[in-house]
């Protein structure tokens, strides 16, 4: 646990606007994870979650949201990422308990 905390990776995220739609864009290196925040698209969120779970199996990490403004979507994204980080740590803990992590 100690060594994991020591080497916990930080993954950058930003709020991006594409075609007047807002997303939280998480840079995991291999692929881009996009969570739509300006409209309800549960399947896209679930798909993003699946990618995050796969990433959790690789190792512990924390998402750091950059460029947080005062606009509505920045506030939504900030709150969402805060909660997401807490839940990622919980899921990682459960995975370890079940022996489902890769390392």
């Amino acid at each position: 646990m100690e060594s994991e905390e020591k080497y916990m990776e930080t993954i950058k995220a930003t709020v991006v606007e594409l075609k007047k739609k807002h997303f939280i864009k998480i840079e995991t290196g291999d692929e881009e994870i996009k969570i739509p925040i300006s409209e309800d698209k549960p399947n896209e969120v679930k798909s993003a979650f699946n990618k995050l779970i796969a990433r959790i199996k690789m190792g512990e990490f924390e998402i750091e949201l950059e460029g947080i403004g005062q606009d509505l979507f920045s506030q939504v994204a900030n709150e969402y990422v805060t909660q997401l980080n807490r839940e990622i740590q919980e899921v990682r803990g459960e995975m370890k308990a079940y022996g489902l992590v890769n390392n």
Binding site: S38, D40, I53, V76, L84, E87, V91, G93
Partner: protein, 714 residues
């Protein structure tokens, strides 16, 4: 028990091997390691009374040791060997006489005559064993005849030949024959003793043996009376004729030409025992029943997976089949929360609703861990206190010390258990309070509360559980189950042991072997589809199409029949020889069925022509020894047979001979020891057991040729 009438303990002649020398203690140890129960010491022209006495003292009741000597006899210029054996009671006198006649010569130079032997030893009522024919140097026929005609009891003259085959041939031609080890090297005696003659009847002493040689009826009857026997009153035939048979807890043979009612007698015997509550039935060879007997189709086949630490996966399969995608928190809830600012003053005052919920999982897991430890340690302390082996191994103080340390540890762990429990519940209550306050503020003010979770945790854990369940099922399916091997029987020394093999395999999604059968009533293609789909579910646990695979699993026909991995078992059951699949011929099937019958523990064995389809070699090497073993265990064996290998080589305590003559059907009862077969309805109607056996039974002459192995009669 075996008998050896010819041994050497000393190197007497210059030509004797030094390996014939043996010290009394070594002699006794060697004999004690064999089945030899009677042994005669017959050195060349020497009898060492001191050595004999020492041996008798050491060996005690483990064997009878008879005093004897192997004498050089010269008759008509021809030299031969003759063994004289006397009762141990006469050892001293025997020693004196021998010393007297040998005092002026050496063992190399000594020679005697038949006349001198009779003069000096006849009063001892000895047993004369002459080297005969191929057993050189032999006593010439003329000298032998002299011995036979001048001795008081010619039945005490036995011809020593080289081996069991020769002995049997001479016996069948009316010569009393036997053979001994004539040991040259004591280091090989134990192995060679297996070939020595068996004693079918219990011999109490030297005189007893001689009486049996003389076929003394009282002696034979006394011996037979010692054996447990009973009288069976049977009515085996349609005409209601009563057949009264004395049968022994040993081998009882019924023989005679075909069509004389032997099978009827066996059926009547079986009925007799069944009526008294003993499980008895007539065994008849039927090679086509081998598959049925060994259940090669696996009708009654089952397997306890727990014995192999294989999880049945009932819960896992049920969980996967019922799995569904969990919901997540809608992003619009966050947007609405931040868009509509709460203006309610009271709502603003309630700060609890704004606290971030805490993670509960770690605290819960910590509690579960301590709780598990406390439970197991409590059980272990109770186990230690109650276990008799621990009490035997440890002193009371040691048990108290171990218990004290464990109890201290347990107390500490109980404290930690409570701490972790209260820590977990603290978080749980806080989170519940936050959630409750948020909901209430939202309800009262109309202002949406801030969502407490993105739904990621529940979403991920749901998939984790699916992955873990699929992994557990796959782990079971990937377990190799050892091949079960069951001995079926011997196919003879050349071919080897036939075995029944049962292979179990789980359908793991890849098996397409037509020789494997389903164990349960689930179609093989459905089994395969099920296993394959579970693997896909595992592979796609964190992919968008996961639930398409779950749906595919549920769409498999009769999927509800697959409740556990047991329903995915396949099996193959087959006979194997030397590790390879083998189809026994009908003769071989008969062999192993008979062996199985004989190896089944019963009180009464009733075999109707067990020799059918079997070769002589197999009957001799496998079946006859098995029958004898059963008889030695005091079981009743009834055999109807045409085969001399069985009727003669087993030397049955009771022989029932059925025949059909001018006077109709008759029954004669007897045994090979008296060599008589007597008609119970007419005591004068007597037959010669040996002659009848040789004439009636298939392979009679050859069987007598082999019978020399067994001392019974001449």
């Amino acid at each position: 028990m075996k008998i050896d009438i010819h041994t050497h303990t000393k190197k007497c002649k210059s030509g004797d091997a030094s390996t014939r020398e043996i010290a009394p203690i070594d002699f006794c140890e060697t004999i004690q390691s064999t089945d030899v129960g009677i042994i005669a010491i017959t050195n060349h022209n020497v009898f060492d009374l001191d050595q004999f006495t020492e041996i008798v003292d050491i060996i005690g009741d483990d064997a009878q040791v008879w005093p004897g000597v192997e004498l050089d006899v010269q008759e008509d210029g021809v030299r031969g060997h003759l063994i004289v054996i006397v009762s141990p009671k006469m050892a001293k006198g025997f020693s004196r006489v021998l010393d007297d006649i040998t005092k002026d010569s050496t063992p190399d130079s000594f020679k005697t005559t038949i006349e001198q032997i009779l003069e000096k030893f006849e009063d001892f009522n000895p047993l004369y064993v002459t080297h005969y024919k191929q057993k050189t140097p032999n006593i010439p026929d003329k000298a032998l005849e002299k011995l036979m005609t001048r001795t008081a009891n010619p039945r005490r003259v036995i011809k020593e030949v080289t081996n069991s085959i020769s002995a049997g041939i001479y016996i069948s031609h009316g010569h009393a024959s036997i053979y001994g080890s004539d040991v040259h090297d004591w280091s090989t005696y134990e192995e060679k003793s297996h070939d020595l003659p068996d004693l079918r009847l219990p011999i109490e002493n030297f005189d007893h043996f001689c009486l049996l040689l003389e076929k003394d009826p009282t002696t034979i009857n006394t011996l037979l009376d010692k054996k447990i026997a009973e009288i069976l009153n049977l009515t085996p035939f349609d005409d209601a004729t009563l057949l009264k048979l004395k049968v022994f807890n040993d081998i009882n043979v019924i023989f005679g030409p075909k069509g004389t009612g032997k099978s009827c007698i066996l059926k009547a015997i079986a009925k007799y025992y069944r009526d008294t509550g003993i499980d008895a039935k007539v065994y008849e060879p039927a090679s086509d029943r081998l598959d049925e007997l060994f259940d090669t189709r696996g009708r009654d086949l089952s397997l306890n997976l727990n014995s192999y630490d294989i999880n049945y996966c009932k819960d896992e399969i049920e969980a996967i089949r019922e799995a569904s995608e969990g919901g997540i928190t809608s992003l619009s809830k966050y947007e609405i929360y931040f868009r509509i600012k709460s203006t309610n003053k009271n709502a603003k005052r309630i700060k609890l609703k704004d606290i971030e919920p805490e993670e509960e999982g770690v605290a819960k897991r910590e509690f579960v861990e301590f709780n598990d430890f406390v439970e197991k340690t409590t059980e272990f302390i109770a186990f230690l206190k109650g276990h008799t082996s621990v009490k035997k191994e440890l002193s009371t103080e040691e048990i108290e010390e171990v218990t004290r340390i464990l109890s201290n540890l347990l107390n500490r762990m109980v404290n930690r258990e409570w701490e972790s429990y209260s820590g977990w519940k603290e978080i749980y209550l806080l989170n519940s309070a936050i959630e409750k306050f948020r909901t209430e503020v939202e309800r009262k003010t109309g202002s949406p509360a801030k969502p407490t979770t993105t739904g990621f945790r529940e979403y991920a854990l749901n998939r984790e559980r699916i992955e873990a369940n699929a992994a557990e099922i796959i782990k079971s399916l990937d377990t190799n189950i050892q091949i079960f091997k069951e001995a079926v029987g011997s196919l003879g020394t050349n071919k080897g042991e036939l075995e029944l093999r049962t292979e179990f395999k789980f359908q793991d999604g890849t098996i397409s072997d037509g020789s494997l059968h389903k164990l349960k009533a689930v179609n093989k293609s459905q089994q395969k589809m099920f296993a394959k789909t579970v693997r896909e579910i595992f592979k796609h646990a964190y992919e968008d199409d996961l639930f398409q695979h779950v749906a595919k699993l549920n769409a498999i026909e009769d999927v509800e029949k697959i409740e556990t991995v047991y329903e995915l078992l396949l099996f193959k059951r087959y006979f194997a020889l030397n590790g390879l699949q083998y189809s026994p011929s009908s003769g071989e099937a008969s062999m192993v069925m008979l062996q199985k019958e004989l190896e089944t523990d019963k009180e009464v064995y009733i075999l109707d022509e067990p020799e059918r389809s079997l070769g002589n070699e197999y009957i001799n090497d496998v079946i006859v020894p098995l029958i004898k073993e059963i008889a030695r265990a005091g079981k009743k064996v009834f055999i109807s047979t045409h085969d001399a290998n069985i009727a003669v080589r087993t030397l049955p305590y009771s022989s029932v001979y059925r025949r059909h003559g001018p006077a109709g059907y008759t029954t004669h009862v007897g045994n090979p020891f008296s060599n008589n077969l007597v008609n119970p309805n007419d005591e004068k109607d007597r037959l010669d057991w040996k002659k009848v056996s040789m004439r009636t039974l298939e392979g009679g002459e050859e069987a007598f040729g082999e019978r020399g192995k067994i001392y019974g009669n001449d």
